[in-house]
């Protein structure tokens, strides 16, 4: 896959995280995260609930303010207090665990809202693109449906189309299948696979180890607010070095999640 990917434009990572820390009150959630994601690559963040995966993604999209360290997007710092968050968020796409679709809007309106209001695209143009995106994720004919008329899997695919509609430099996926019934997981993962094949740069927080192995170029194991082990999926998932990683994978295995 990566061999066939378009040539890497430069060696500057699309996303680079350096020494990021974040506490909520007394609770230290991130304790110095370093991570670089180069273009067209997908990094899977794995780790137990509460290990800081979601918080890290929220910090990258500036939905949370970090305490220390910095995040760079295409080499430019985005976590400086003087940087306007809106401009940064327009270059990133986020898919949330609970979909967070706008319930008062149709699927198509959900997808085109950002394009029209944030990117200033004319309605006709945004809708045409929105329709083709929905079709691409298997939602042809559902453009006029509101979220509560869609299954969880369909809602999450609308959310993926919505995040992708703003032509983001990178997509941040936060446990996009954890709220789904098992039989609906596959269709959402297929959508992500599709974006990966197109060369989308992604950070994927996930509990789906088989998916991480298949799609990610790199797996990073978060434990207690730190990335304590990272590398190619085969290595981290099959021959982990750290005791904590082994224990985490063993627990998943016992729970039948691998």
């Amino acid at each position: 896959m990566s061999a066939a990917a378009p040539p890497v434009a430069s060696s500057t990572p699309v996303l680079e995280i350096r020494g990021v820390t974040k506490a909520f009150g007394e609770r230290q959630v991130l304790r110095g995260i370093d991570l670089a994601v180069t273009e067209h690559r997908a990094v899977a963040l794995i780790g137990a609930s509460g290990s800081g995966k979601s918080t890290l993604l929220r910090c990258i999209d500036l939905l949370e303010e970090i305490d220390d360290g910095d995040v760079f997007l295409d080499g430019e710092v985005i976590t400086d207090p003087t940087v306007k968050p809106v401009a940064v968020r327009r270059k990133l796409g986020v898919v949330f665990q609970a979909y967070n679709l706008f319930p008062h809007m149709t699927a198509l309106q959900n997808v085109v809202l950002g394009e029209m209001r944030a990117h200033g695209a004319p309605r006709a143009e945004a809708e045409e693109r929105g329709r083709s995106l929905l079709a691409r994720f298997g939602l042809e004919g559902r453009e006029g449906d509101r979220p509560d008329n869609l299954s969880g899997g369909q809602q999450q695919r609308v959310a993926i189309a919505r995040a992708f509609a703003g032509k983001p430099r990178a997509l941040l996926l936060d446990e996009v299948t954890s709220a789904l019934d098992p039989e609906l997981v596959g269709e959402v993962l297929a959508a992500v696979r599709d974006l990966k094949a197109e060369g989308m740069t992604m950070v994927i927080a996930t509990h789906e180890m088989s998916f991480a192995r298949e799609v990610a170029d790199e797996v990073a194991f978060l434990h207690d607010g730190q990335i304590i082990e990272s590398g190619p999926p085969q290595k981290v998932l099959e021959a982990p070095e750290r005791e904590e990683t082994k224990r985490f994978l063993r627990r998943l295995l016992e729970a039948g999640r691998i």
């Binding site: 929220r58 968020r89 949330f96 967070n100 706008f102 008062h104 209001r117």
Partner: protein, 279 residues
Amino acid sequence: MAESAVITDRRLEREAAKRRQHRRGQAIAAVSTVVVIGGLATWILTSPGWPEVRETFFSWSIFKDAFPEVLEGFWLDVKVFLVCEVAILIVGLIVALVRTSRSPAFFPLRLLGVVYVDLFRGFPTIMLVYLVGFGVPALKLSGLPTDPVVLGGIALTLSYSAYVAEVYRAGIGSVHRGQRDAALAVGLTDNQAMRHVILPQAVRRVAPPLLNDFVALQKDVALISILGPQEAFRIAQIIQYETFNFTPLIAAALLYLAVTIPLARVVDRIGGGPEGAVR
């Protein structure tokens, strides 16, 4: 799926039992209604004072004479109500938005919003009507309205906007924070997120409590009569004084009901379920 299923005896038995239960339920409801309503009615209608009460409150001949006059006054109520309602929806929304804004530039306005809501929700509405209705003209400043209807309307708007602002604010607070996250994540500004994502959901949710305030407002419109204008309740009162009979007040009450009951049905329809679902 089940349309080809054979209808078994057991199924017929179940359905017959359910029909019996249903019939018994209906019979109990009917009997208890007759007993309760009938009992209450008999109790009142056979009371020693009933003939007198009927004559004083429910006199058909007085009702017929008073109704056209009261109805004429009622148009003033309707006009004041409609104009105030629109003004209150706008002023209340502005106060709520100011109070929920995060911009530091809005700090003095936020403070003002808090003070306004605290004060005007606390003042009795009748006092505000006196204060604005008699106080403002007494200032003798040029350019300020002097029409008692306008002044009364302003007093009502000031009073009710404070309540409505809090209703809106509760609605805004009830929209899940993930909605704001998602709106910001697609690149909207704070203001755009409020306008396109949060407010539309909040407003649908607060439609029923807003109606509550409007039903109350509709009755409080009668307060402007203390400034002089003759609206339905005032006219009914005048006829009451002339005839020593309360029936005209009943006529006014019926007119109020004629507005508030349909309003309630409309809101039931647009307000949706407990989640403020959009359908």
